[in-house]
Amino acid sequence: MSRYLILTVIMLKNSNMLNLRSGKFGNNSIKGVLISLLIFAAFLPMMLGIGNIVMTGYAALSEIQQEGLILGMGFSISSLTIFFFGIFYVMSIFYFSKDIESLLPLPLKPSEILAAKFTVVLLYEYLTEAVFLAPILIGFGIASKTGLLYYLYSTLLFLVLPVLPLVYASVISMLIMGFTNLAKNKDRFRIVGGIIAMFLAIGLNVVITRLTGSSMNALELQKLLEQGNNSYVGIMSGIFFSNRFAVMALLNSETLKGFVNLTLFIFICALFVMLFLSFGEGIYYKGVVGMSETSAKRRKLSVAELGRYGMQKSALKAYTIKELKLLFRTPVYFMNCVLMNFILPVFIILPFLVQPEEMKELQGLTVFLKDGRGSAIALAVTFGISVFVTSTNGIAASAISREGTNIFVCKYLPVSYKTQIMAKVLSSMSMGMVGTLSMLMAAAIFISVPAYLMLITVFISIFGIAFSALAGILIDLNFPKLIWDNEQKAVKQNFNVVLNMLVSAAVAGILIFTIIALHFTLWMTLLTLVLVFGILDLLLYSILSRVGVRLFERIEV
């Protein structure tokens, strides 16, 4: 037990959860605190909004005695989200973290390492929960005017809830990694494993939605709802079956029934942790020992091959290609920054797979697009999505952070910082373009989009993609996160990416809103977007050329 605690504390100390640099620069930690506050402030409206919805919903649902539905849905969605993020966290912290190589030679049991790493992931998930579940629990508590015991139970449940989804995510990851570790080319298999895990997570999502949707018809559902007494909670099932005990515990927090349900919930979670640890004791090392091995053919290149490799390129081109190669070949970067752009269409198509009836409604969209105003709105929305996608893939906002302690290499290369910055911007833009194009292609499968509209959209999205990329790297130059022990921290646990998403979403949102509100025509929309974003891009470019270069100069590790 004590070894577990020591390990956990060491891992947390080592992981430097905030985006602060190692204290060499005093003013940067102030910047770091400010940025954390800013991000909290950005999430605050959303949290308040959720709380507000919960309180309104409570008023309506409590009349038919189904207020438990709110908690049930809150727990379900939280569990799913935790499971989804969990797969990424588990992959990086259990397997890709650099500390593994120093832990393996120590006389530790696999379950001890696993338990410590599981705790670290659990702590990360509390951050996810805090944004979504906390406002639901608090909103419900206020609306139901319940006692102190409710809040005590809520806190306990908040802490224990992520356990079950995380056990699922861990077991799936361990199975995949145990299997892919057999392969020779580990990087490639790890990428494949990651894709499988992601599709499993999405697939499971679809299946659960379908099951709960079709398990009873509308009439039965209505009957059940009319029964009152929070009967709907009773049918909550699926893989997060224990959530119903959590709901019951909160609904009956004043009585013994609540206490029994709470105990039951905690007991189930504890049981799953035990199962997970004993399972991991056997399988964890299968995936993790030999992780760092790589395949090598040691084949001599022919003179012709030497020549083919050796075509001279400009520094900008060579640098951009280098950036893209590293993005594609590093499993964590591929999963977080590259894959998203290719599977974006899956997320668009997904809702229609879940509910095939909605396909029909798409036909309406085709007509809508023929209309001038419709196409203007479509253009603005697609533009907004491409801005957002480019910021979501995080390539620009983590471009400096990804260099890590090897940032010194950028310093001695005889290539200007401006060229280096622009190469990073270009690598981000090219993936943003991939995302936009794959999204448009997916759209074209379902609805007939006029060719001219397609062309205009592609052309105009370049301006938006450039904006996201330029803004992203400017943010990262300001707050580079260079000290990390696994690549995940450079891209996913990097506030710069979140900040870039917020900025891009805000700017794109305001513009789309304006265009729709002011009834712009297609050509007015086009002109506005080109003008506004053309100017913004030029502005950012000139800031980067001067301030950005100076910031780059000052970065030292």
Binding site: G23, K24, D187, S292, T294, S295, A296, K297, R298, R299, K300, L301, V303, E305, L306, G307, Y309, G310, M311, Q312, K313, S314, A315, K317, A318, Y319, K322, K325, L326, R329, T330, N406, F408, V409, K411, Y412, L413, P414, V415, S416, E553, R554, E556
Partner: protein, 241 residues
């Protein structure tokens, strides 16, 4: 030629890593840079290479100031860092060509150099594999090759012999001698005093960021009136600080 004039660098304003260092590293000679762990060797080398900014003082490489004309200065030298773990997911070949593109080396020229260097360091069979599959010594070799691909006139090498096998170490030493003999500059840090003793024309010894001694091997013996090895002199010199 590398010229440092009154260079200062401190971390967090307290610990002085480099203290008022003035040093001229001449052409046509091999200059060794010695000092105990944490003496400021790597910091000094990083300042020369433009990786770290000095708090004050000036650094010129072949007469070009690294702060005022960084790109012009950087193209003059090749720098081998103390840790070769970089670009691990590029193939050796891709890394060499990346460096060649950065230093603007022509296609035909780079092909010959890559062939030459990979033969000297026995790396021909590894070039088509990712650098992460290399051993420490092989990584060291590929980094050295990447640095030499543009045939810089000034070599700045931070512990270049670490991890090299005897053959590669010998090759590198011969190359350093050849480079100096051709009238160019070689500046390298090392902990192996035997190497310094045999290879260097001059040595600079620093501790706590301060230059303790700078001169030829003969000068050092004369100065300390000692017939002992460099090791003995070094130990006495750094002990008394």
């Amino acid at each position: 030629m590398i010229e440092l004039i009154k260079v200062n660098k401190s971390y967090s304003g307290i610990v002085k890593a480099v203290d008022d260092l003035t040093l001229t590293i001449p052409e046509g000679q091999i200059t060794g840079f010695l000092g105990p762990n944490g003496a400021g060797k790597t910091t000094t080398i990083k300042i020369i290479a433009g990786v770290l900014n000095a708090d004050s003082g000036s650094i010129t490489i072949n007469g070009t100031d690294i702060r005022e004309n960084p790109l012009e200065a950087k193209i003059q030298f090749g720098y081998v860092p103390d840790n070769p773990d970089m670009f691990l997911r590029l193939k050796g070949m891709e890394y060499l060509n990346f460096m060649a593109d950065m230093y603007n080396v022509e296609s035909s020229l780079r092909k010959d150099r890559i062939q030459e260097l990979s033969e000297s360091f026995e790396m021909e069979a590894a070039l088509n594999d990712q650098i992460q599959s290399y051993s420490h010594g092989m990584r060291q070799k590929i980094v050295i090759m990447g640095v030499l691909i543009h045939d810089p006139s000034v070599w700045i090498l931070d512990e270049p012999m670490t991890g090299l096998d005897p053959k590669s170490s010998y090759t590198l030493k011969e190359m350093m001698k050849g480079h100096a003999a051709a009238g160019k500059t070689v500046f390298f840090s090392t902990h192996v005093l035997e190497v310094a003793e045999k290879l260097c024309d001059k040595v600079a010894i620093i501790n706590k960021g301060k230059l303790l001694f700078y001169g030829t091997m003969d000068e050092i013996r004369e100065h300390f009136r000692s017939n002992g090895s460099l090791e003995k002199i070094f130990l006495e010199l750094t002990e008394n600080e």
